[in-house]
Symmetry: C2
């Protein structure tokens, strides 16, 4: 008798950006696994059980949730943003891949959400209006030389680059090094967007040219978007500047 495992994304944290489909999954489930601050975004009923864990225990959390779902419970694993982007959906799939046969019988329902780079892009204009990539800067998950190689190839290809997990207490220097490396490939005028807590009351958006980009302006809640040589800034009197990447390729220096 297998239950259901819902994997939902809350979006960036603004209730208006969480989909009705994700809210329905939350209403249907009775046990909730997730990082505490993400569980705090849900308004759970008294009959809904909450099992909060630390941010970095993703595989353990996925295994615990699958164990309960395989026992017949309706279980919900909660991510911020979209659960499929550097988040819990991959951890759940990995747990199923490596786990006991009965976990493959569990009905798995993943509901997509608004991931951080889309929320940041919407607040600033349309920096992701043309080809782009998303890279996690965490070298907990892959060697640093793989990250630097990828960054260099992305810049050479003329892609706009969204950086997830740009900085943390345990990883203080990586973002600065990424900027240094990108300055070797990209013009110093390329706009860099620091998008913190987009859509939330503590939102903070900054734009500066790559030549002056300062890694200290980012924290764990920041998504950093680095423009391509095609990306443009539109100054507006009395309104914030817009940053966008044109739909047409004009043939910048890529």
């Amino acid at each position: 008798m297998s239950g259901v495992l819902y994997v939902v994304g809350t979006g960036p944290g603004n209730a208006g950006q969480m989909t009705p489909e994700a809210l329905s999954a939350v209403a249907a489930a009775t046990e909730f696994f997730g990082y505490g601050p993400y569980l705090d975004r849900l308004s759970l009923r008294p009959d809904q059980r909450r099992i909060a864990s630390d941010n970095r225990e993703e595989l353990d959390r996925a295994q615990a949730a699958l164990t309960r779902a395989a026992a017949g419970e309706k279980v919900c694993v909660v991510s911020g943003g979209d659960p499929g982007v550097f988040a819990m959906a991959a951890a759940v799939c990995e747990a199923i891949d490596k786990g006991p046969a009965e976990w493959r019988q569990v009905e798995l329902v993943v509901t997509p959400g608004v991931t951080a780079m889309l929320a940041v892009a919407a607040r600033i204009g349309a920096p992701l209006g043309h080809d782009f990539c998303a890279i996690s800067l965490s070298d907990n998950l892959k060697p640093w030389d793989v990250i630097t190689r990828r960054l260099r190839l992305m810049a050479e290809a003329g892609m706009v680059i969204a950086l997830y997990n740009p900085i943390s207490k345990a990883r203080p220097w990586q973002l600065g090094e990424a900027f240094s490396l990108l300055r070797e490939v990209l013009p110093g005028t390329v706009p860099v967007i620091f998008g913190r807590a987009a859509g939330r009351p503590d939102e903070r958006l900054l734009v500066m040219p790559l030549a002056e980009a300062d890694a200290n302006r980012a924290d764990m809640a920041t998504c950093v978007i680095i423009g391509s040589p095609e990306t443009r800034i539109v100054a507006r009197e009395g309104q914030s500047d817009l940053v966008y990447t044109p739909r047409f390729y004009a043939g910048g220096n890529t």
Copy 2:
């Protein structure tokens, strides 16, 4: 007296995947500009005016909407998916960039949405669980040699690749050529996902190895996701196969 220009995304077309924020913007606006099938997804009131246009007239549509907003109206430009990804937000920014000074006074509100690759990824597992990119295959907007160079660099970097606008009547051969090119760089076993109309009643999901990937399985409503050498398939008895890209980099042949 400037009005407001909302740029909203409907998500992939399933009403459960459109955010409350986008619905609020729709409720607040009185004139709607967009491609007809996207406007059809909204339940407009009799007092809300609908101005449908062809799919390819994006800049004209953005200019028409800005003209009305600058005249003081509350105007809504409607995209499918997320308006910031290969869609109307960039066309609106471009129109502001090139247009008359008064268009810069218009209040611009972009609401993010669930873009196609996220909806497809959720239905199949977690193929975007690690570094990935999004590339438009339309050579209306950039030269074909820029596209092929980018595809090659993405594959060399080990990125999962989501292809938007993979095929159309006017662009029948590009997707097949993209597969041929990627076969030169990537193992033939890499999974390719054809995700059509994800989350809608006419949804169709197919997975096949790159060696056998057949461009005829895609149409205009398809988002194609090409795995990296790290991407794995999990077979499940009685349930559909899962496709996911592990959070940890195992050191495949990239």
